[in-house]
């Protein structure tokens, strides 16, 4: 018997879970209240992490990024800018991290190579000539909407149904188990139920609202980050600041543009985030530190979206992700232990590792259902995103 899974949310997480579960033989339906990737995923930086950003404060996350970076290069090469990245030291304090950084990269299996400053300036002539060190890493660039669409296109090809503009208004119960979702089609206001054997909550900053429908307390703290795009491709590679995670620590070039980010501040309602003007100014100033003249290029968009941070007040029993050291960055829950059998949640994480997150979610679901089909997302290439529409 084929089990039917409803996934709530068509961000990169929900899309990757859809892909993973269809390959394991589940029947999948994705419901999304807006457009694909219209919130948290859509407004991320589009950085395919080398992993180097995390080597000092979260080595397991760094290793995961490095592994999935290498995999995504094989699985979706046609929609990635693969020009690599640089970590540059802009002052003496940055420089003081260099040795520990290089050592930590080696420890975590993140390829990194220090290059002479002269060589860095040859590769990126617009870079601040006063940089004190440069380290080459294997960053890449994607557009988050198309990244997500590639997962959904492939899931659809394997039988998944994707319903956009379809908002979950309640859960459906069979006795004490969650057995589906009640949705409202936002195009015509029609409400109907979709029955399911399992429901996966991949609603990002809105995961708490879905949890509340099952009386499961999931405290998600929405933390916003501001990014500013300018209409000039100042650099070919991703330029990271060689320092602990900080505001304005990265420039991601893409298409003809350069996107500088990011900030980090808690917001109350993730539905609408008013970006403070001083943050736009701060980001442009940060861009100027990397690239003198950065802000002379025309403004090409200001964006912010809420990242879901799981608050420790959540009364949840974490599903054991097993011995693979899969981590901190995200959490998968089987809410049977919270009194809502049939409901699962996947919260947090990074778009770079959405395939891996989905693999862990799939393992947790397999454990609950007794299905033994293994994860196949490491081998199966993703279809072109246009296939989503055809």
């Amino acid at each position: 018997m084929t089990l039917h899974v409803v996934i709530i949310g068509a961000g990169s997480t929900g899309a990757a879970v859809a892909h993973d579960l269809t390959l394991r033989g589940y029947r999948v339906t994705v419901v999304e209240r807006g457009e694909v990737a219209c919130e948290t995923t859509g407004r991320n930086h589009g950085l395919l992490h080398s992993g180097a950003r995390y080597v000092l404060n979260d080595p397991p996350a760094a290793r995961e990024c490095a592994e999935d970076n290498a995999l995504m290069r094989k699985l979706m090469p046609d929609i990635l800018e693969l020009n690599g990245g640089l970590f540059v030291a802009l002052n003496e304090e940055d420089l003081s991290y260099k040795e520990a950084f290089l050592e930590a990269c080696a420890q975590a299996g993140v390829p990194a190579e220090e290059i002479p400053i002269k060589e860095a300036l040859r590769l990126e002539p617009n870079l601040n000539p006063r940089i004190l060190a440069a380290v080459k890493v294997q960053d890449g660039v994607f557009d988050p909407f198309h990244f997500t669409l590639a997962f959904l296109a492939t899931a659809k090809h394997h039988g998944a149904a994707v319903h956009t503009y379809t908002e979950v208004v309640d859960l459906v119960w069979n006795g004490r188990s969650v057995s589906g979702v009640k949705v409202r089609d936002r195009r015509d206001g029609r409400e109907y139920a979709i029955g399911a054997d399992l429901v996966v909550n991949a609603a990002g900053p809105w995961a708490g609202r879905i949890g509340a429908m099952a009386h499961v307390h999931i405290a998600v703290l929405p933390v916003a980050g501001t990014m500013v795009a300018v209409g000039r491709r100042w650099v070919r590679r991703v330029i990271n600041r060689l320092c602990p995670p900080c505001d304005g620590g990265i420039i991601v070039p893409q298409r003809r543009n350069s996107v500088v980010g990011t900030t980090s501040w808690p917001v109350e309602n993730p539905d609408y985030i008013a970006i403070p003007p001083e943050q736009v100014e701060a980001m442009l100033a940060a861009g100027e530190e990397f690239i003198p003249g950065f802000r002379s290029a025309p403004l090409r968009g200001i964006s912010a979206a809420a990242r879901p941070l799981l608050h420790e007040s959540s009364q949840l029993v974490t599903a054991d992700p097993g011995a693979r050291g899969v981590t901190r960055g995200f959490s998968c829950f089987n809410h049977a232990r919270d009194g809502a059998p049939g409901l699962f949640s996947i919260i947090g994480g990074k778009t770079t590792t959405s395939r891996l997150m989905a693999e862990v979610m799939g393992d947790v679901i397999n454990e609950a259902t007794g299905i033994t089909n293994p994860c196949r997302t490491r081998e199966v290439p993703l279809l072109p995103y246009h296939a989503f529409y055809v």
């Binding site: 800018e81 968009g301 055809v390």
Partner: protein
């Protein structure tokens, strides 16, 4: 802060079409897309619109702003005086899904038929070594909405698909040149364009489809691939 009256065309298949006006106050350093999202978040959760990246990369937020095709994320609030009325309508020449949302399937089917590429050689970044970057076209559909020929001939390939064929003929990346020439040389291909230049005016992403179509015509003629007039009158 600036207060605008957003006059939005609501409705869709099976729903009556009517303009609805929302009065909204937003920071003037933001864009019309932020104003629309604020309306949805604070006044009317039934409002339908498309968006993702808010920096002209995803290609989702195209609408007609005061009659002209634009990306809402690139339409500054500061362009409009305090108290102004701004009319927002969905793109033309696509099936209407509802409110500001259209079904982009007709464009995506054309791009899929071409096997439109996403990554190209990076010709514009200074510095040593070769590199790649994303193609300029973000498949937003603004040109398809603005083009009067798309409006009168539903089989016309359209400005952005033709511009994409030009890009492939320039840099084939393993594609079959002959089938691309057949598509471009078809009666509903490059010869169908009337050079109205609306696509040039509305393109938010440096594509210049009209120039590309001229380039394609020249390419087809010089290679003897112009189809007979008979075929063009089909």
């Amino acid at each position: 802060m600036r207060t605008l009256n957003l006059c939005i065309l609501r409705g869709g298949p099976g729903r009556p079409a009517a303009y609805q006006t929302y009065r909204i106050t937003v920071d003037e350093h933001l864009n019309i897309l932020d104003a629309v999202q604020k309306v949805w978040a604070t006044q009317d959760p039934t409002l339908l619109f498309r968006h993702a990246c808010h920096h002209a990369s995803c290609g989702l937020c195209g609408v007609r702003v005061n009659g002209r095709e634009r990306l809402m994320c690139l339409t500054p609030i500061a362009e409009f005086p305090d108290g102004a009325t701004v009319t927002l309508e969905p793109l033309r020449n696509f099936p209407w899904v509802g409110d500001l949302v259209v079904d982009v399937k007709p464009l995506m089917e054309r791009m899929a038929a071409i096997q439109a590429p996403y990554v190209r050689r990076d010709e514009l970044t200074a510095g040593g070594e070769e590199g790649t970057r994303f193609e300029d076209c973000i498949e937003c559909g603004l040109c398809m909405s603005a083009c009067p020929v798309v409006g009168s001939d539903s089989a016309y390939l359209g400005p952005s698909p033709l511009a994409m064929i030009k890009r492939l003929l320039e840099e084939p990346r393993g594609r079959d040149i002959r089938s691309l020439c057949l598509l471009a040389g078809d009666a509903h291909g490059a010869w169908r364009c009337h050079s109205v230049m609306e696509c040039v005016e509305v393109c938010p992403s440096h594509v210049d489809p009209s120039q590309a179509i001229g380039w394609l015509r020249r390419y087809l003629i010089l290679r003897g691939r112009r189809q007979p007039a008979e075929a063009q009158r089909r």
